[in-house]
Symmetry: C4
Subunit: 380 residues, 4 copies
Amino acid sequence: MTLDPGQVFQNAIYIAGAHDWPLTPAEWEERARAALEPAAFDYVAGGAGSEATMRENLAAFERARLRPRMLAGTAERDLSVELLGLRSPVPFLLAPVGTLSIVHPDADLAVARAAAATGVPMVLSGAASTTIEDVAAEGPLRWFQLYWFNDREVTASVVARAEAAGYGAVVVTVDTIVLGWRDRDLRHGFLPFLAGHGLAHFFSDPVFRARLEAPPDEDPLGAAAQALAVFPNLALTWPDLAWLRGQTRLPILVKGVVRGDDARLALEHGAAGIVVSNHGGRQLDGSVAALDALVEVRAAVGPEATVLMDSGVRRGTDVLKALALGADAVLVGRPFVYGLAVGGQAGVEAVIRQIAAEVDLAFVLSGLRTVGDVDRSLVA
Amino acid sequence: MTLDPGQVFQNAIYIAGAHDWPLTPAEWEERARAALEPAAFDYVAGGAGSEATMRENLAAFERARLRPRMLAGTAERDLSVELLGLRSPVPFLLAPVGTLSIVHPDADLAVARAAAATGVPMVLSGAASTTIEDVAAEGPLRWFQLYWFNDREVTASVVARAEAAGYGAVVVTVDTIVLGWRDRDLRHGFLPFLAGHGLAHFFSDPVFRARLEAPPDEDPLGAAAQALAVFPNLALTWPDLAWLRGQTRLPILVKGVVRGDDARLALEHGAAGIVVSNHGGRQLDGSVAALDALVEVRAAVGPEATVLMDSGVRRGTDVLKALALGADAVLVGRPFVYGLAVGGQAGVEAVIRQIAAEVDLAFVLSGLRTVGDVDRSLVA
Amino acid sequence: MTLDPGQVFQNAIYIAGAHDWPLTPAEWEERARAALEPAAFDYVAGGAGSEATMRENLAAFERARLRPRMLAGTAERDLSVELLGLRSPVPFLLAPVGTLSIVHPDADLAVARAAAATGVPMVLSGAASTTIEDVAAEGPLRWFQLYWFNDREVTASVVARAEAAGYGAVVVTVDTIVLGWRDRDLRHGFLPFLAGHGLAHFFSDPVFRARLEAPPDEDPLGAAAQALAVFPNLALTWPDLAWLRGQTRLPILVKGVVRGDDARLALEHGAAGIVVSNHGGRQLDGSVAALDALVEVRAAVGPEATVLMDSGVRRGTDVLKALALGADAVLVGRPFVYGLAVGGQAGVEAVIRQIAAEVDLAFVLSGLRTVGDVDRSLVA
Amino acid sequence: MTLDPGQVFQNAIYIAGAHDWPLTPAEWEERARAALEPAAFDYVAGGAGSEATMRENLAAFERARLRPRMLAGTAERDLSVELLGLRSPVPFLLAPVGTLSIVHPDADLAVARAAAATGVPMVLSGAASTTIEDVAAEGPLRWFQLYWFNDREVTASVVARAEAAGYGAVVVTVDTIVLGWRDRDLRHGFLPFLAGHGLAHFFSDPVFRARLEAPPDEDPLGAAAQALAVFPNLALTWPDLAWLRGQTRLPILVKGVVRGDDARLALEHGAAGIVVSNHGGRQLDGSVAALDALVEVRAAVGPEATVLMDSGVRRGTDVLKALALGADAVLVGRPFVYGLAVGGQAGVEAVIRQIAAEVDLAFVLSGLRTVGDVDRSLVA
C-alpha cells in the first residue's frame, strides 16, 4: 500500500491518468451525480435540513491550517495504525454507509473487495445491501456498524452474527435513533428502505424473519415496513450499553458523539472507543462541525482513549488535520461512495489510492514518518 | 399535536408529500412570491434600509452551533410551554403580523383557524385585517398585540375590547412608534394602510369612528389617513407603562427590546414579560441580531423573567437554539405568512406542523424530553 | 430642515415618490453611472489600487451593530451640531469633492445652492471647478478645503482668498501630498486636471497666474501642467503647520488622519480639529477603515477635541454609527456627487433630504433626541 | 530606479499608458492566460490540491490593514535594501521560478536582462531553462536557488558552478523535497520536465551527464527521467546543512520555512538567512499563509536575522505589509512570470517598474523615507 518514496508524484499521475479517473473531490462528486438517479445521488450527497452542518464540516477543515516541518528525514515512512487490534496501512478506514445498492449493483461486495485489495479496512453498515456473512467472505479486515433497534432480540441476533462472521468490533451508532430531517429526500419522497435497499441484514436474519407474516420475497413492502418499525429506538440511554456489552465479546465503539461529556459517558459505560461524528451532517442540522467536536472530545477523554472521527474528510490533508487535532484515525465516507458510483470496485480502489497518496505526500511535506510523529503543533 | 415517537420521519414525508406543500423556508418563500403581487410580497419579505439586520438575524442563527446529547432517552416527550397562563404544545407561537389581507382574503381568520386546529396560539396583530372580536370567535388561544397610539382614548378602547373578547395578554410593541424606512415599500410606493388593509380594529372601534367626519365605508381614504395620524407616538416613555397597566387587568409583555437595560426598565415599570425582537429587521436597519440581543437580555433580567424572542426563526432547529440561548418560547412570523399566501388556513397549518415536526425531531436528536431539559450548553 | 415628528415615513415616500428620485445608495450610484461618461464615473466611484480600503470602509459600517433604546420620548428632536462655530441642522456636512465639472456643468455652484437650500454646509474643495468667490456668493455656510501646494505663495494666496470670502475654517488635507494609484483612472488614462477640471482656484489666483508664461485661456494645458507641478508636496511635516497658522485667523482642521498618534500631533501643532478619513479609499490602498480609525483617534485625543470623519458614509444609520463611535459629525461625499450627476442641484438636495430623513428616523427609532444623547453604548 | 518625487502618478500613467501594458495583477494574469497554452498557464498559476493555501496567501495580505503616518516629510526617499551583500534599489527581488521556457522562449535570459536593466536582482531557479553560466553572463546581480538532489555529487557540482559564475548566495529550497500534489497539472497530465523544460543545469552539468547512458540531445526523455530520479530527496535533515556549507563559501539561505522552530533550526545549522515561503501554495495544500508564518518566524529569530518572504505578493502595498510584519525584503514570483508571458523581457521590466512605483507611492503615502522607517505599527 505504502507508496515508493520518491515516486509519489509519478504515482499520482499514474493513478489519475492511466485510468482516466476523476482527480478532485469535486470531480468525483460530479461524475457520481452524472452516474446516478437524482434521488439516489441526493440521498448520498445530501444532509439534514439546510445542510448547515454539512457545510460547516467542510469549513472546519478549511479553517484548520497546517504548520509543516522541513528537513525531518521522511524517506522511510510507516503510515499504518492499529486500532483495537485492527491494522490499516493508512490512518483511515472506510466509513459505514448504508443502502449502497442504490449506488451500484455490487454494493458492499465491491467495497469489501476494494478493501481487501488495498488493505484498508471497511466498517460494514448496519443498513447494508449485502449480508454480514457475504461481506465477511471477502476478507478478514472489517468492523461491523450496528443500528441498535427497538427489538432487542433482533439486535442481539445481528450482533451475534457479526461476531460469528469474524468482525473485529461493533461500532454502535447513537446519533441515528431515528432518521434526520433531510430536505432532499423529502423533496424526492425517497426512502431507500421502502424500495428494499439496505435491509440485507434484516431479511437474512432468522429472528427478524420470525417477526414477519410473509417472507420478504413474497411481501417485500411488508418486510420493509417491519424493518422500519424496529429501527427507531428513542428510549436508549447510556446504561443500556451494559446490555449490549453482554451480547458480545467484541469491543464496542460508540459513533456519533460530539460532546466531551458524552464521550466520557460512553467510556464510563464500557465503550472501547469513540467515533466523533455528526453523521456527515445528515442528522441534526446546525450541529457543531465534527472537527471542532473532535478537539473537545479528545480534551475530555485524555490522550489514551481510542478516538476516531468522520464527517467532512475529503482530502489527504484533511486526514492529517484530524490526526493533529486528536484523532487516532478517520473514517472516509462519501468519497468512496462516489468512487463506487463511478467505477464499482475499481472506483473505490482509485479513491482509496488517491487519498492514501495524498496522505503520504502530506506526511512527506510535513516532516512526518509515522502517525506517532503527528502532534498538535501541526495545526495552527 | 405532539408527533408519535418513532414516526417522525414518516410524518414529515406525509406532511410534505401527501399535500404537495413546499418543504424548506426557501421554497415557501418562493411559492409565496409567485402567489402574491410584488408589492405585497415585498411588504412581507422586506426589511428596513439595506436589510442588514434582516440578514444578520438569519446569520446569528447560522452562527449558533448545536451540541446535541446522545442516548438521553427521548421516547416520551412533552414540548409544551406555559407562558403567563397561555399553553402551547410546542415552544413557539404565531407572531403578530399586520395587514394579512394583502396576502390572502381570509387573512387573520385563516390564521386563527389554523391556530385552533393545531393548538398553537396566535398573537393577533394590532394592525390586523380582521376585528378583535371576529378572531376571538375562532377559539380561546391568543394574545393581543397592541400598537400604542398617540390617542389614549382609542388605545384604551382597543385594549378594553381585547380584554372583553378573552385575549390573555397584551403584547405592546415599542419598536414601532413610527414605521421604519423600508426601501422596497418606498420603491413600490406601497403602504397597505392607504389601501385600507390592516385597519380592522380602527374601523370597528367606536372611539375611533367618533373621530371621523364620515364613516370608513363612505370615506375610506379619510379614515385611513386618520388611522395613520393616530399611529405614530414618539413621545412615549417607560413611565407611560403605568397608564397602560391602568387600562387592563391583563398581563403586559413589551415587544421590541434589544438591550438588557431596556428589558430591566420594562420589568421595573410593570411588564410581565419581554419579547426580544427587532421587528424582523423592519424597523432600525443595522440593529443587532435578535438572537444576540436575546443573550444580553436574558443575562440582564435573570432566569425567572418571561422572555420570548422573534426575528429570524425559520426552522425547528432555530427554535431550539433560541431556547438554549435564553428564550422561554419564540414567535414565528414570516414562515406562516408564506403558508397563508400559498394555501390559506391549510398552508398555515402545514407550516406549523412542519416546524413542530422539526422541533420535535431536534429534541429527539439532541437528547431532550422537555423544554426544561434545554440548557445553555446546547449551543457552542 | 428637521422633519415633522410623526411624518417621517410619509415624508420619505414624498421625497422619493413625488420626484422619482432613486432611493438607495446603490440606485443613486447606478443612475449616476448611466448619466456619466465611464471615465468620469470611475473617477468618482473608484479608489486606490485593488479598492480594498474602499470595500473595507463600507464593511466597517456593516460590522457595527446598533443597540437602540426604546420608549425614550423622541417627539421633540434637535439634530443640529455646532462645529467650531459652524452650525448644521443635521450631524453631517457635504465633503469636499474636486473636479465636479466632470459630473455636472453647474458643478460646485449646484452644491452650494443645495447647501443653502437645506442649510447643510458644504466644504468647498481645493480642487473645485468653481472659484472660491463664486461659491461664497451663494451663501454663508461653508468651510474651505485646502490642498497645501509646494508653492507657499500660491498656498497663502488661496487661504487668504478663502478667509476674505467668509469661509469659516480651513480643512487642510494631509493624505494627498500626491495622488494615489488608482487603477480605474490609469486604465482610462484619465486625469481630470489635464482636461482643465478642478483648477478654478488656480486659474483665478493672481499669484498662480504670475507663474504662467501665458494665461490659462490661451494655454490651458500649460496652465494645467503648472498646477500639477505645484500640487505635490512631499516635504511637508507637522512643524510646517505653524506656517499655515500664520497665514490665517481661521481655525484649521487636519483631514486625512487615521492614527491616534497623528491626531495628537495635529492638535499639538495647532489644529483646531481632526477629520478622520482615508480619502474615501482613494489614496493608500490597504489602509484601515475610516470607522475603525475613528475609534482609535477619539481614544487618543479625548472627548473634548473636535473630530469629524468621512469615508464610507452612505446611509443615515451610518451617520449614527459614526457619532456613537466618536465623531462630532461626518462628511458625506460620493452620495451627493451621485445626486449631482443625476439631477444637478435638485439631485443634491434630494440626497441631502433622504439622508437627513434617515438620520432623523434612526434617532427616533434609537431613542435619541439630540446628538448629545448619542453614546458609545449605541453600537455593540 | 527610484522615481522622481512628485512624479509618481505621472510615471504610473506613463508606465501603463505609453506601453499598453496591463495595469492590475488580475489583468496581467488574464493577459498571460491568453498568451499561454492552458497546461503551461495552469502550471504557473495553479497550486497544490484545493489551492486553499494559494487563496489564503492572498487573504492574509488582504486582512493586513495599513496605518499610514501623515506629514512625515517623504520628499527624499531611499527604498534600497542590502541583503547579505546584495543590494536592490527596492525591497523586493525576483523569486526563483523554474521551467520558464514553457512561458517564453527567452526564459531566464529575459528575466536576467530585465533584472540588469532595472537593478532589481533575480534569484535564478535550480530548475531553470537557461544554464547557470548563461544567466551569469547577463550581469552581476543574482543569487542561485538550489534544489538539493539525492545525488550529492551532482548537487555539489551545481553549487560549485554557481559560486564560480559569481552568484552571491545559495538559496536552498527545503519545502520541495518532492513535488506537491497539484490538481491542475494532474488533470493536464503535464509535467514540464518530461517535455525537457527546466533541466538546463542538469543537461549542462558534467557530473550529471556522466550518469547518463546517452547524452540529452540523443535521448532527451532518458535524461529527463534521470533528472527526475535524482530530484526527490526525502532523507534530508537539518544536520545535512553542514555538508552543504562545506561545498561553498557562499552564504546559504533556507527557503520554504513556515515555523519559528524550523527557522531557529536553520540558523543553528549555519544558514545565513531564512526565506519564509510556502512555495506560492504549490506544495502542501492547507499550509498557513506565508504572511502569517512570517510573523511567527520573525518573533522566533529576533530582529537581527535576515528574513525574506514570498507567496502572495501581488502589489506594492503587499511589499510594505510584509516589511512591517518582519521581512527584510520580499520575493515576487508569479507577477513577473505573467510579465514574461505577455511581453518577454519588456514585460518583466514593466511589472518590476509598476510594483516599484506602487512601493514608492506606498512609502510616500505612509510617511516613510527608508525601509528602516518601517515599523510594526504600520499594520493594524
